[in-house]
Symmetry: C2
Subunit: 232 residues, 2 copies
DNA sequence: GCCTGTGAAGGATTTCACAGCC
DNA sequence: GGCTGTGAAATCCTTCACAGGC
């Protein structure tokens, strides 16, 4: 056992899981790789190959049991438990993240938020209290926080990231518009709508100029958005 | 001429451009692929190869001229002009997007926002007025909107996406937690922090269980966040 | 000496195509 | 007949390594 699993495969699993949850909610009990693939713009072969890294979940002639496969994927991804999250930076963006109701139902608990602004410290955003950034390290270690969310200005992002890593956080979601780097034993993902737009304009530009001339590079068609992603 | 350019390459260009802008702002005038790569966690060979799709921008023995390469990348990506954006859905998320100040300085003008809620129509978020969703099609065609941002509930995302595509929008940034699909002549990117977290937990789980047993699949180390989609 | 640009090599990922089973 | 699971083939992407130029 113990095959090497490509990261691209891991990134697609939550997408499959989400689609299965939707099917499940609407009462579907079986789905084929064909049908699932059409909904997600992925080839059926890719879905089957991806799943085959982890086991044999389907039935020939029928397809996959929806709740069954959903459960397996949740188990594989570690979504059958809850994870501790903290947010660093409570500006507009950080506030929106803390107030966004989408993390809790998916198993991610935002335990606390941190900021350097004295005026904010001690207040709350929703249920989450804002603490002084100087307490970050101690809190992370005491609470065994799993995921750190970075929502500070670009200029502070690497420093905050280093602090999170220093305190043993193993996964970071970076909303700051800069590339923070981490040691190889830590996972980091970047969310940046501007970068997404800036790569799309390349294709918009192609199309524009194609109307006028036959110049410019030819371009392959994209699939499965972003990162991504990659985004993405 | 006219080589096929991989999408992964296009997705990295904005990352390079952003790093160059930062270097430029701090007064640097030249940079080598080595140094740029260290800052971004990308191999120097990859940077050189990526750039080589578009031309020869460096000087042997020295590296790249920072403002020069930055300008070239902006030109390649179409960032030397402004783009028209509209936002569909003005809930909490849509509001945060419209109020976020980061798009304007990068050349993206949010012209309008649309919502189905009668109570919101006619009001403003910052400088942007909220219009009735029924006016979407007419507005898009009249204003030649380039990019549509989807910030509606998952259940409405595909319908809104189809409307955008139907009115000729060629690029879509989807914030809804669902996979909307588009015809191949349209580009779409998805932004979903929950999916990003859900793929990171896979690695967190690995680490946890690795401490207890030698079981579970071995995993390859990731690089360059997101996008992954990015995804991003 | 240092660094780019790039063919060629090596690896990774996707797709094909079909045996096997329901 | 329909569909999975999977080796093999094909494609795509990254890395190597070095010629060429500053």
């Amino acid at each position: 056992m113990s095959l090497e699993i490509p990261e691209v495969v891991i990134n697609r699993l939550p997408v499959y899981a989400r689609a299965l949850a939707t099917l499940h909610a609407s009462g579907e009990t079986v789905v084929s790789s064909q049908v699932l693939g059409e909904a997600l713009d992925v080839t059926p072969a890719q879905i089957r190959k991806d799943l085959s890294y982890f086991g044999r979940f389907g039935k020939q002639g029928r397809g996959y049991n929806v709740p069954g496969l959903l459960g397996k994927l949740q188990e594989i991804l570690g979504l059958d438990r809850r994870w501790k999250v903290c947010v660093v930076g409570v500006g507009r963006l950080g506030q929106a993240i803390v107030e966004y109701g989408g993390f809790g139902p998916q198993g991610f608990d935002i335990l606390a938020a941190f900021d350097a602004d004295e005026a904010k410290v001690g207040t709350c955003v929703g249920e989450v209290s804002i603490r002084d950034i100087s307490e970050l390290q101690a809190f992370l270690e005491e609470e065994h926080v799993d995921i750190g969310v970075v929502a500070v200005p670009a200029s502070a992002a690497q420093m905050v990231t280093d602090e999170l890593v220093g305190a043993g956080v193993k996964a970071i979601l970076n909303y700051a518009p800069t590339t923070a780097t981490v040691p190889s034993h830590v996972v980091i993902r970047h969310i940046d709508p501007v970068l997404e737009m800036q790569s799309m304009t390349f294709y918009l530009k192609q199309r524009d100029s194609a109307a006028l001339s036959a110049e410019g590079p030819i371009v392959r068609a994209p699939a499965l958005g972003g990162r991504r992603t990659a985004s993405g």
